[in-house]
């Protein structure tokens, strides 16, 4: 089967490659670009571990063909840290609030939370829970993930983070 030429921007860098049309974006990112931050979890569009940001949308990269992303601007967890190497507010939030245990869901959670905060700078707890409802975590029970996102929202808004009373 003829391969297709694709060109896209990944974490700010221009990338060109030949792909089989059937190559899923997650496989392209992991195997051709060696970006192994996006994880393969369920492979059935449920778990969200493969979530990346694509042209201002959170997408499950296991359910997008790389050819569909031709011309797109993509961000993965590898592109989240600030240009000076310091952690993005979301990464810092997950560290400070213990938003992970095994860490498998974390890249997808952070990329989904990134888009959520782009669209809603000050989400309520309910909005955060609804916003990450396409991402599964089997360790944390989500409490600390919600706190991590609240921490990041506060930091990005330049206000002090106040943890809600338990």
């Amino acid at each position: 089967m003829a391969k297709s030429q694709v060109a896209m921007k990944v974490n700010g860098k221009a990338v060109e490659a030949l792909v089989e049309p059937r190559t899923l974006l997650i496989h392209f990112l992991r195997e051709q670009l060696s970006l192994t931050g996006p994880h393969i979890g369920c492979e059935t569009s449920h778990c969200g571990a493969c979530t990346v940001d694509l042209d201002g949308k959170s997408v499950k990269s296991c359910t997008v063909f790389a050819v569909q992303a031709n011309g797109a601007d993509i961000r993965t967890i590898e592109g989240m840290a600030n240009p000076d190497g310091t952690l993005h507010a979301l990464q810092e939030g997950f560290r400070e609030m213990h938003g992970l245990q095994c860490g498998f869901c974390t890249p997808g959670m952070i990329l989904r939370a990134y888009r959520l905060l782009q669209e809603n700078k000050n989400p309520s707890e309910e909005e955060i829970r609804y916003g990450i409802s396409g991402n599964l975590c089997r360790c944390t029970g989500y409490q600390n993930i919600v706190k991590a996102i609240q921490f990041a929202a506060a930091k990005l808004n330049g206000v002090a983070f106040q943890e809600a009373a338990e």
């Binding site: 089967m1 003829a2 297709s4 089989e20 049309p21 059937r22 899923l24 496989h27 492979e43 059935t44 569009s45 449920h46 969200g48 979530t51 949308k57 959170s58 997408v59 499950k60 359910t63 997008v64 063909f65 050819v67 569909q68 031709n70 989904r112 959520l116 609804y130 916003g131 990450i132 409802s133 396409g134």
Partner: protein, 287 residues
């Protein structure tokens, strides 16, 4: 899970897409948001030799007013439906239903056209379209035609679409200002299809139902338009006895499968419960 090999096409106009699909015949499938067909391809339950991606066709996106109707391009995503100010103010049922489909990531990719054209009885928008009296715009080898949503669904995955057809837009008559609406969906978890769901649009005049339309999701091989149930409600004040009769009429037209979502009789009863709740909320919203 790796899909079978296929050739990828990305036409830039509807005419080009229709030409390609007509030429490819059974070997070709249209690709919209991909969130139904790609999972099927990964399981090798679908192995199209050619995919015709409709994402490059600009005219298939966005919503516009046309007289007393709103016309929505088939490639408009569920996320865009939910975010649209125009639709939120004129046809708020669409936003309410869109936000109950799958999860945020899927809604960024999944399209209205794909949802209604696929013929999957689990999809939510088909019953919503029946409820709203939508008309589907279809372009095929023989030119353009329009088919009412209420006449479109023939069986599970069987619709009025023929090989080479592309569903290009959905035309919805704007319901009267002050109408009540609701989409009630029972599901086991986020991302699941409905165990049963009900869409309601009604208008109230002098405390009585003036018009009413009801759609039911995933309780038969096709979405259902519960015409008889709606007729029973017209003229009533939505009193408990009349609602009970209407719910019985709606339950009577269901024929759900027994599956992991529950046995058939349970799903029929849940359709009735969803309808009762949708009627309550629609009534409370009607002005």
């Amino acid at each position: 899970m790796i899909p079978g090999s296929f050739e990828y096409h990305r036409p830039s106009s509807v005419q080009e897409a229709v030409g390609l699909l007509a030429k490819l015949g059974d070997d070709g499938r249209a690709l919209a948001g991909g969130h139904s067909i790609i999972p099927m391809m990964k399981l090798r339950l679908a192995t199209p030799a050619h995919l015709v991606d409709l994402a490059g066709i600009a005219e298939l996106r966005g919503a516009r007013t046309d007289g007393s109707d709103i016309v929505i391009g088939a490639m408009t995503t569920q996320h865009e439906l939910a975010a649209s100010e125009l639709l939120g103010s004129k046809i708020p049922l669409l936003r309410e239903a869109a936000l109950q489909i799958a999860d945020p990531q899927v809604r960024y990719m999944g399209t209205l056209g794909g949802n209604v054209a696929n013929g999957d009885p689990g999809n939510d928008m088909p019953a919503v379209m029946m409820c709203l009296g939508a008309i589907f715009h279809i372009v095929g080898k023989g030119g353009q035609r329009r088919v009412a949503a209420r006449d479109f669904y023939q069986g599970a995955y069987f619709t009025a679409l023929e090989a080479g057809d592309v569903l290009t837009a959905v035309r919805i008559p704007v319901p009267p200002a002050g109408h009540g609406y609701a989409y009630e969906k029972l599901k086991r978890k986020i991302g699941d299809y409905a165990t049963a769901a009900a869409a309601v649009v009604l208008t109230v005049s002098g405390g009585r139902v003036a018009t009413c339309s009801i759609g039911l999701t995933n309780v038969a091989e096709t979405p259902l338009w519960a015409e008889e149930a709606a007729k029973i409600l017209v003229g009533s004040a939505l009193d408990a006895a009349t609602v009970k009769r209407a719910v019985a009429a709606a339950e009577a037209i269901t024929s759900p499968a027994s599956d992991a979502r529950g046995p058939a009789h349970y799903r029929t009863k849940m359709a009735g419960v969803m309808l009762t709740r949708a009627l309550d909320r629609a009534k409370a919203r009607a002005r």
